[in-house]
Amino acid sequence: MDLSSISPVTLIVSLMAASTPILLAALGELVVEKSGVLNLGVEGMMIIGAVCGFIAAVTTGSPWLGFLFGAICGAAVSMIFAVLTQYLMANQVASGLGLTMFGLGLAALLGHSYTGINPPSFSQIHIPVLSDLPVVGRIVFGHDPMIYFSLALTFGIWYFLTRTRGGLVLRAVGESHDAAHALGYKVIRIRMLAIAFGGACAGLGGAYLSLVRVPQWAEGMTAGAGWIALAIVVFASWKPGRAIIGAYLFGGVTVLQLNLQAAGLAISPAYLSMTPYLATIIVLVIMASDKKRQSLNAPASLGKTFFAST
């Protein structure tokens, strides 16, 4: 094995790219869960975003339109879940699972003729002088715009949830939908918007996966990224800033194991491929065992069905 082939700077740069799809999806789900809805369909919305974004980018030649279309399609499929759970009062766990299975199937169907095609390239920004600095230049100034967008989005969501009236209303709905309803807030409408936002974020994350991270379309390419995003929301105890730490941690494990595989570590690559999933389980256990923090931050109405009886 040749560990010297792994450069720390390259590792950090590729870590950020590997984390961004998960971070975007986790941020969206965080907002959804803050509104009191548990959408387990992240994986399905992500893969729809991946395939739709890919098709749009290949067809138009513009990765930007690809991202936009990926987000729109992610939001569109999330509406199936939204109508089922908000208007037809279906079980959120089952509906979310259904969305994941439906999304994986639909994506495979749509992407059938797009395998093996390269998408239009989406390059890193280059700021003269700054991007050329040793080490710092590549880590701070050498990414593609979506990575900066994901960081800005984290800040924006934090600001919205904690510093604006809209964020307060959203959190109120998530804590007690009955109280929020009694105050005259439109619980269902607010939750519909939150779910659509979550779908758009997951779709964007998926599009990043197929347009930048891989960059190709392959069936089932999300490979559990949506589920890991759900775990990161728990890890982050519903705080956007901590979602970055969580996502980068998982990105780090993923990139490191890929590098170790490439460096020819003398164990079966299958065992290394397990590590991101095992890390997720370990983190879930650590976070869950700290009950005080969990009960403090978890939205009190999470996963409960709202029906206005009056």
């Binding site: 999304g103 199937g105 059938h112 589920w227 079966s268 999933y277 389980i281 969990q294």
Partner: protein
């Protein structure tokens, strides 16, 4: 205006009727989907739902397949339905299915070429044990650390798939497989092969076990204290505590039973219809079983019917793929839609639709 009115009691008629409504709605929506794909929707629906059973050209092959495909789905769905009733969400049946196949199949490979009537019972036990232990991981983490069993059991699906890959490229790789990542073929090992019991019926040993589990499941659910306990736990966690139900035991039992049944399903699949361990072995039955559990209303008899129907869509889907070149993924979409419609029309069980508000004053 159309509005929802809560029923005083859940409608028993609707409990029976809603799955049928969902299936019909799925056929219509599926037909539209097939039309979009450029196929004749009526032909497609006929090929999927009618031909596998009644078309003489293909039925001799497809009819036995019905039991072969339905057995693992029903076996797993019955296990899952217990948990779903009790709000214990085992989403990782696919992983337990794989581990049952790897542990049980691996035991058989280790014993090869020993011929003995004890081999098959032993590997059945090992298969069930493999699934059971794999499901115990989320159970213990849930009980001990309160970790979310949905996410843990799901993560373990990916771990199990990688473990399978490690096994078939390493210790379980066939010495006569010409370097391909596959295990030895079980139909070359008489003592471990899960053969058809009656030729051309698809009836293998797993089907018998499945039928026994349907009966046992029914008795457990309706006549045994365990069935009562899981139903209470699902309806109200607090009430169940007053009824003396230990929530930890419920979690362990629900995950343990569903894991063991998924493991058995995996073992019967790998030693019979699949024939060998390979990275292509997992087919997503563990996920489809979730749809089967809901479609069957979490009831053993319903699950039996739902499993047969779902098996039909698999077989019919393959036919449609073959005859009309409808992509395999279309069937996945079809199954997903079925779950959506089912969850959607479910509202009719607890609510009725009423036109305008004047009817209130009428009586």
């Amino acid at each position: 205006m159309l509005r929802l009115e809560a029923r005083p009691e859940p409608s028993r008629a609707m409990v029976m009727l809603t799955p049928i409504i969902a299936v019909v709605a799925t056929m219509i929506a599926g037909g539209i989907l097939f039309a979009f794909l450029g196929n004749n929707p009526f032909t497609a629906i006929r090929i999927i739902f009618w031909d596998p059973l009644f078309n003489d050209m293909v039925a001799s092959y497809t009819r036995p397949q019905l039991l072969v495909k339905a057995a693992p789905l029903i076996l797993m769905a019955i296990g899952l339905s217990f948990g779903f009733r009790a709000n214990v969400w085992n989403i990782g049946a696919e992983g337990q299915f794989i581990m049952g196949a790897v542990i049980g199949g691996g035991t058989a490979l280790a014993l090869y070429p020993l011929e003995s009537p004890l081999v098959f019972p032993l590997i059945i036990i090992m298969g069930g044990l493999g699934g059971f232990l794999w499901a115990m991981i989320p159970a213990i983490l849930k009980i001990r650390f309160n970790a979310n069993e949905i996410l843990v059991s799901l993560m373990l699906v990916y771990v199990a798939a990688q473990f399978l890959a490690a096994m078939v490229t390493g210790p379980m790789k066939s010495p006569v497989g010409m370097g391909f990542p596959v295990s030895r073929n079980f139909n070359e090992y008489q003592s471990a092969f899960n053969a058809e019991l009656l030729s051309n019926t698809g009836l293998h040993f797993g089907v018998l076990v499945m039928m026994a589990v349907v009966v046992l499941g029914y008795i457990f659910l309706t006549r045994h204290i365990f069935g009562f306990q899981i139903r209470v736990s699902g309806q109200s966690a607090r009430a169940s505590k007053f009824a003396g139900v230990n929530p930890h035991t419920t979690v362990a039992l629900c995950l343990g039973i569903s894991g063991a049944l998924a493991g058995l399903a995996g073992l019967f699949e790998v030693t019979g219809p699949a024939g060998k361990l390979s990275t292509n072995f997992p087919l997503g039955y563990g996920f489809t079983a979730i749809i089967v559990a809901f479609l069957g209303r979490l009831h053993p008899v319903g699950i039996l019917l739902a499993g047969l129907l779902m098996a039909l869509t698999y077989i019919g889907g393959e036919l449609a793929q073959f005859q009309m070149s409808i992509p395999a993924a279309a069937i996945q979409v079809f199954q997903g839609m079925l779950l959506f419609f089912l969850l959607g029309v479910d509202i009719l069980v607890n609510f009725r639709l009423r036109w305008d508000t004047k009817s209130k004053e009428a009586h």
